[in-house]
Symmetry: D2
Subunit: 337 residues, 4 copies
């Protein structure tokens, strides 16, 4: 860390900062400029918070030097991590498309979607059993019966399944039925749940919070990794901005930025990132062109009747057409799909 | 809800929307303009989601008419709700100040703060036992020993205590030691936890998520209220914007807006909303002037040594001086403190 | 427009709204729901502002139905507009890449860049003569000598030139030296300047303001179009969000959204949208994959020595390599480059 | 400035950065940590841009140490500046309220408002002659006839007048009719206009752009000050965020932050910052409580008929009532009104 002192900081204040740094077990390094004195901290600053020094008299600002994440960092592990979910490898040359309905609604629905997306080339199935809904008065997911249907459909089609976990109490039940746990955007900073999925020893799909920076997203991954669960896939799903023409703003820059900072695979959710079925194809193609390792796309046999997220779900035919287009893009960037 | 059809929508598409509305149990009301046809939905639209109709062919946009929250709404209950926490009334004429450290760090620390803030006029004590920290490598709170200290200090000073709950599994332990459960900003949309505190039958302090709208905040309150827990106090604590000069941006407009929309008490956290001790007084005074029912302020006997949030904590002397100033403002807006 | 009355609006208030609508020359259409009354306005609402009705007693909210832009709308002109700049067609099947330095710095620099980008396949040259800089103490552009160099380089290489206009007083001088006027992001809502470039009868490159919605961007285009200048190319260049890892956040969704709403060509500036040379390629590829009609890219022979925007400028070799990659993507989406 | 090198930066890259710093006329100061090397720059860094060094190989990040503004800074001039507008002193103990309609609409209207706001205690009059409107199809202001009415009303009531300038060509005409030039939010980074009002030698009211940081706002003030016009009053008028319940989000923190950073007076516009008449009083009181030096408030004799901004305009009676309440708040913070 670097401590920038106020212009009017006294020699005594400077010495107090140095003393505090040394008391905390670090070495201090002074640099006196014409207008300001700067104090560098030598040592692994990660356990130290910016505030611990910003609070001292005469300090104007404290700037971290190291990335706060360690296990998630490319500095720590330069080569790409490949996360394997029941045989499907995410993070390699092949682009992995996960598809399925927002929520499991019925046996017919989930079987119909699974057949269609498998046929079109999807490698994994998504489907919600527990749904985080803004309103307590709308459909909250079928719960355990949905998990049972997912396990059944997985058996039938050989597609590994990812589903969102909303509470620690559900983890063991989910383990019996699905292959990968999704942490939803609203729970990205639910540190209690992150610790629990960290201990679960199952692959995790970690969605970026709609209000969270890329650094915070990697810190949430660090919570999971530091519990010795290294099978984390990051998912950009759009952030909240002032723009209201789309449900969220796809932060396409986040794909190359995250790929530079971390060795973990990065996929994109073009359905939530746009909120409109007629924008999904453009966003999906952009994601692959920008270097994403995969996509998670909402598909519903009858979006008009979907109990949630119908407006952003593709019909199976539209999904199949998109897969064909995505293959072209994947090829253009030297990858397979 | 109002369905706005595309300019080029066909008569058949219009009739399909009408049919779908009626199938869902509502009545439809057509209005044909020069450039667009508008279809109004007659009935209680709350269980209906915008997407359910936006997905239909020929629909451009769907606009909700009713507020999605019901129990939290002033339409539902026009008079102010007063939440009583062990005898302290929040939401009445008297402005309630809650003060204390970010985290309970030691017996000495919490006793010293409690004595000081009580002396200065605070009516409740805050203190974290479980801390949501961005990094897994920084101080996470003392946990249960902190709760025990809070119970002890409450006994000694007669100050009701609020502390943050991060996991459903902790609720019963917390009930034995504290008087009010805080839902932190990062958990505002942790619907599973909201359901659980809803069932806990204890007063809840619901912080606004840093990138959640006022409507979403009230919807999270609705999750608690709809579980028959009506003792909810809302807390504005700053939102995330592009401005980086402060930790968060205090949305002072949210105070009068929330007071108009809901009957629940609204308080402000000037410590998190600014992130800097030297801005807390200005923000606290603004909050009372804007109509807030109370404040929650971080106070630490020795911010230089605080294990978390030191930079935004007031020293006891500064807090006592602020309380004197706040009394003037409270008086100026016709209230007491 | 649709006027949503408050739940408690009286019959008298409803009648006053109807009377006001009729007084303004429109017809009113009432729809009485269980909880609210809705009043639709029949007629071309564009000259009417939402506020004119929101101000009336008993009104809760007013929702516009029509897009506020008319000439820029695809409803008005369904087929794509092709803007021709001295023979270069923007908006057709061929993707147009504009490249060059942030600012013209010297004869050597601009000639070297022009030769290199032409060789790599760029169809137009960019180069700033007047630079909008946050600080009055940094390089503000060479001014008229830069325009003269641009005219000379255009002559030599046959590349049409675009350059930013910052003041109405400069328009005539610029007309003599460049082929297209750029309105920068900071001037997107400088309506006085928009009117002036509208009257200038020259092609205009209209950058999106960093905190302007897509609708506002199209309204700024409407200012130019309504002065009978129809040669407007829109340019998405990143918006301002809470994310600080990149200079701006490329709103990739804006490309398909704008293409749906308007017939005008839409290009992307991956240099400003990322702010870092090592992110430009990913953003540029994403833009083409998402359907952009072109790109404007900063290229500098020696970014280390650039007087502005060096960090986001590509070296000529990197630009040439990117052009090769972009051709693959263009081909994958059925276009040429 | 401080240059943070990448973890893997080579000794050669480090030496190249040092060489470049020295070539630019500064001294470099190395600090080698365990994981990173940091290079401090000794000297007045203001003419240097971050990018000039960020572009070098092996550099991860460059952090500015000094504020980029100089003349506007409290480091440069510690005591408060008082701006005098035709005898009215802004920035002293007395809080100055400027009031009037969004736009001058007629002789009757502006005389009626002027009489009412003067009677209620306003010290200056506002009124737009040239209006920046999002749509080219809505009322754009009366122009020069409005300026003539303002000059007349100023004569009659002895109220100095502020009005927005949108184009350099209008400055001389405005000088003859009004006392203070307003730079609107949309033109805050119209550097060409800032230079021109800097040379105009008239007091300037500089509104913060809705998308601009506090630092950028002060840099725009610096443009005016560096042209030797020191009579600049800053005006916070709300920023754009994700919240849609209000027209803008009043950044109340900006008041104490700006007062700490600069010696210039800071006032608040609660009308634009909220967009709704029924929120103006709360925002105005908060502004005074937070330390603002004044307010600028929209007042219209008949908001229902206002040609612009009716929804956020107070009626004269509501304004008079608010002034009485504001006097209490001013008194509570030790000031007069």
């Amino acid at each position: 860390m670097i401590v920038i002192m106020e212009r009017r900081a006294t020699e005594e204040q400077i010495q107090q900062v140095v003393a505090r740094i040394e008391e905390l077990g670090f070495r201090a390094h002074l640099s006196r400029g014409e207008e300001r004195t700067i104090i560098g901290i030598i040592g692994d600053e990660r356990p130290l918070s910016v505030e611990a020094l910003e609070v001292l008299d005469g300090v104007e600002r404290v700037v971290p030097v190291l990335h706060p994440f360690k296990l998630a960092s490319r500095d720590f592990k330069p080569e790409n991590t490949i996360v394997t979910v029941d045989g499907v490898r995410i993070g390699g040359d092949e682009i992995v498309v996960i598809a399925g309905p927002c929520a499991v609604e019925s046996r017919e629905q989930i079987f119909e979607v699974a057949a269609a997306v498998k046929e079109a080339g999807a490698k994994m199935l998504r489907g919600g059993a527990f749904k985080p809904r803004t309103s307590p008065y709308t459909f909250q997911g079928l719960g355990i019966p949905a998990l049972e249907l997912l396990a059944e459909v997985r058996e039938t089609f050989g597609l590994p399944v990812v589903s969102e976990v909303m509470a620690a109490a559900d983890i063991e039940t989910m383990r019996a039925h699905v292959d990968m746990l999704q942490i939803g955007a609203r729970n990205m900073q639910n540190y209690s749940l992150l610790q629990d999925v960290g201990k679960a020893a199952m692959p995790v799909l970690l969605k970026r919070g709609m209000m969270c920076t890329i650094h915070e997203w990697l810190m949430s991954a660090e919570y999971i990794l530091s519990n010795r669960n290294y099978d984390v896939v990051l998912c950009e799903r759009g952030i909240r901005t002032f723009e209201t023409a789309t449900r969220n703003t796809l932060d396409i820059n986040a794909v190359p930025v995250a790929k530079q900072l971390t060795h973990l695979p990065v996929i994109v959710d073009p359905s939530h990132a746009t909120g409109k079925a007629n924008l999904v194809a453009a966003a999906a193609k952009a994601a692959i062109a920008a270097g994403a390792d995969g996509l998670i796309i909402e598909v519903h046999p009858n979006p008009d009747r979907a109990l949630s997220d119908g407006a952003q779900s593709l019909r199976p035919e539209a999904f199949a057409k998109l897969m064909t287009e995505l293959r072209q893009i994947a090829h253009a960037v030297g990858r397979r799909l």
